[in-house]
Symmetry: C2
Subunit: 424 residues, 2 copies
């Protein structure tokens, strides 16, 4: 059979947030880029497919990073004794300004793309900068990598350093539309996403224009929401006639629509905002490493899960220190425990199983049917060789997964498939 | 000159908790196992010493792990959806019981020792089990490794599974004394330390006997104190005539004395306990990873530092998931930030510089003069090759240190010296 193959090994994926499936020595079958199912024995109709026997290795769905900043990759792990707004001014904006220079952008984005390729991530939603040329360069590299991504040219027309600020809303919108047209014409697996950086860096005119572009091009949206208290207060002073932070995006048609919106962080949603975020079908990108590093706080992910909100993980590099979503997922568990024990409430912690769900199927839903080995889902798979983590030790599959979860990194990623195509 | 050499490179160490010294392209001189100083140019008297030029590498003092459990190494990263007391019963005690079997102990302790050798750690205080033979085996391996350690044969004569519990206090004390004699006779850099596991697993008779052994042999002590609320309540019910947890150790002469005591965790010291712990000169082993993984809480390390308490870091493997003290130190920063932001108090966060201090000089003080490149200190050094962490990037020394701090692991450890002797 053409375009059909099977991976044999120890296959693990999330059926629900709480139900992890362990399928030892099973076959995951890929047919035309999609998962045809996971089987203990190959069914008759797949009897002749090519089987790659991966022995005792672990095979998980591809991981999905709902929020990261490509031009901050070089700044990973820098400046974490600062808090968010100070850190943005001192480090982030300065670094992003350099992407106006093509040679710099080319070299830095190449390093970023290669690094991302080596992680367990198969799909990602990425912030670039307002530099159209550099953004297209990044998209070209991501397209070549085989990863599936959304990339946003980042809009800022105020409260940004002069090297980064777009000169006015009209210019920004014209440039953005030009970039959208060019991206749609050039790339297949690298898609444009509307990306107002965050409310404080955009004028109402710019936000309104982006809302119009959303309708015209039917594009999804990504931005930041309720990351820190000082940021929320700043938004209130900039948009005095909006009731709260979420209503800024709502007013301009950027929260709900026919296409989904990702809002990173959501650490401090009010009850009212939370209900509207849920009703709008917004995907929350939970970024525990970043929220820790720049002292933002801990989002109430346990209750987001209990409420059935749409939710995935974001490394938020360079607020987060690493592109490794295993690390991010284990941090999601850690910060939920500290939130529980420090706040002393009844809200439980997030389990490993749930964090793995968020890292795969939770975020995968943004891409349609992704992040699980269910029939009809895109065939994204990561093959982990966890030999380093269990020298001469007999462990159950669950225990091996636990060691991978807390200790695994790119050293364990042995192969990676995106939509049935091997990319690593 | 005999027994004298210099390492040339980028030398970094803590002068105080807040003052990190950066000495780019300096010489750290070792004379008879001790640091003779760090110099921009080699002084005349060292003009003829052998110089190892380490180019652009980073040279830091050896790291000191004040608290870890060697027989739990295999359990690292397992069972972290449980809380402390449940986790001890379900996983830890079961694993430790296996060290009664010599072949198992030999293989597992070998893996542990090799792994520890590859980390930045040069000195450590280690819990073994109550098995004398296995404990001596571990000490033999650590002696061979060249690391400087204290190792404790762990006493438990109640509230332990039958395979681990010593049959009564008299037997436990006799065995412990025999083990002390044998250790003192056999090893030079691997020293015995009295190790009542924690108050709940020891009868008053056993604790009293250990207090007597402390005086007789002038040995230091290590144990656990105020790790979780349920544990504190348990201690109260077991020792109804002791005012608090710390007073159990005080009563039996195990908190203060001519030799120092290490108490791991101290997450929930009362104000009164805290003052007594300080007055007794106890070293607190702060174990942020463990306190997170088994949901214990966050120790008030910022205020411990401000109060000038004696303080270092412990990986507490397997409550902690990794032997890497860089990771532990970055977790010390992270949990302090979350404590600050979640509790909303005025207590600040712990900075990177302070966490590095704790990981080196803070814990090093337990070993005398260790953990810094100051004249007269033992010459413990770790050479880090951080090339992986800064592909084609120009960074300041501080920025390189930041990347190492948040992202470094055993891959970066290129060489290691303990008391002037190269061990890796």
């Amino acid at each position: 059979m053409e375009n059909c193959f099977a991976l044999k090994g120890n296959i693990i994926w999330s059926r629900t947030p709480q139900a992890l499936v362990f399928a030892p020595q099973h076959y995951a079958v890929c047919e035309n880029g999609a998962c045809a199912g996971v089987f203990a024995q190959l069914p008759e109709r797949f009897a002749s497919v090519r089987v790659e026997d991966l022995g005792q290795r672990l095979i998980l769905p591809g991981f999905v990073d709902l929020h990261l900043h490509a031009p901050q990759y070089r700044n990973a792990a820098l400046g974490y004794d600062m808090e968010l707004l100070e850190w943005l001014d001192a480090l982030t904006f300065h670094e992003e300004a350099r992407y106006g220079e093509e040679a710099y952008a080319r070299s830095a984005y190449h390093a970023f793309t290669q690094a991302l390729l080596c992680t367990p991530t198969t799909r990602a939603c990425v912030f670039a900068t307002a530099h159209t040329r550099a953004t297209l360069l990044l998209m070209e590299m991501l397209e070549q990598s085989g990863l599936e991504t959304y990339v946003g040219r980042v809009n800022m027309d105020r409260n940004a350093p002069p090297e980064l600020a777009e000169k006015d809303a009209a210019w920004a919108l014209e440039q953005t539309e030009d970039w959208i047209e060019r991206s749609l014409a050039r790339f297949h697996r690298t898609k444009p996403i509307l990306t107002p950086r965050f409310a404080p860096s955009c004028t109402p005119e710019l936000l309104a224009g982006l809302g119009a572009l959303r309708k015209r091009y039917q594009l999804p949206v990504q931005s930041h929401l309720c990351e820190t208290i000082p940021e929320i207060e700043w938004v209130r002073s900039l948009f005095p006639d909006c009731a709260d932070y979420a209503s800024v995006y709502e007013r301009f048609g950027l929260l709900s629509g026919d296409t989904p919106t990702i809002m990173a962080h959501c650490v401090y949603l009010s009850d009212c905002e939370r209900q509207r975020v849920k009703n709008a079908g917004v995907f929350i990108a939970h970024c525990p490493s970043s929220n820790t590093n720049v002292s933002s706080g801990v989002a109430p992910v346990r209750s987001f899960l209990d409420d059935g909100m749409r939710l995935g993980l974001g490394t938020d590099v360079a607020g987060g220190e690493a592109l490794n979503l295993l690390r991010e997922a284990s941090h999601a568990v850690s910060v939920s425990k500290l939130r529980r024990v420090l706040l002393g409430g009844k809200e439980g912690a997030v389990s490993m199983d749930e964090a793995l769900y968020l890292a795969t199927r939770g975020g995968g839903a943004f891409f349609g049917s992704a992040g699980a080995f269910e029939p009809g889902f895109v065939f994204d798979a990561v093959v982990f060789d966890d030999e380093r983590l269990r020298p001469a030790q007999e462990l159950t599959l669950r225990q091996r997964l636990e060691k991978l979860f807390y200790l695994g990194d790119e050293r364990e990623v042995q192969a990676k498939y995106v939509g049935g195509r091997r990319v690593l």
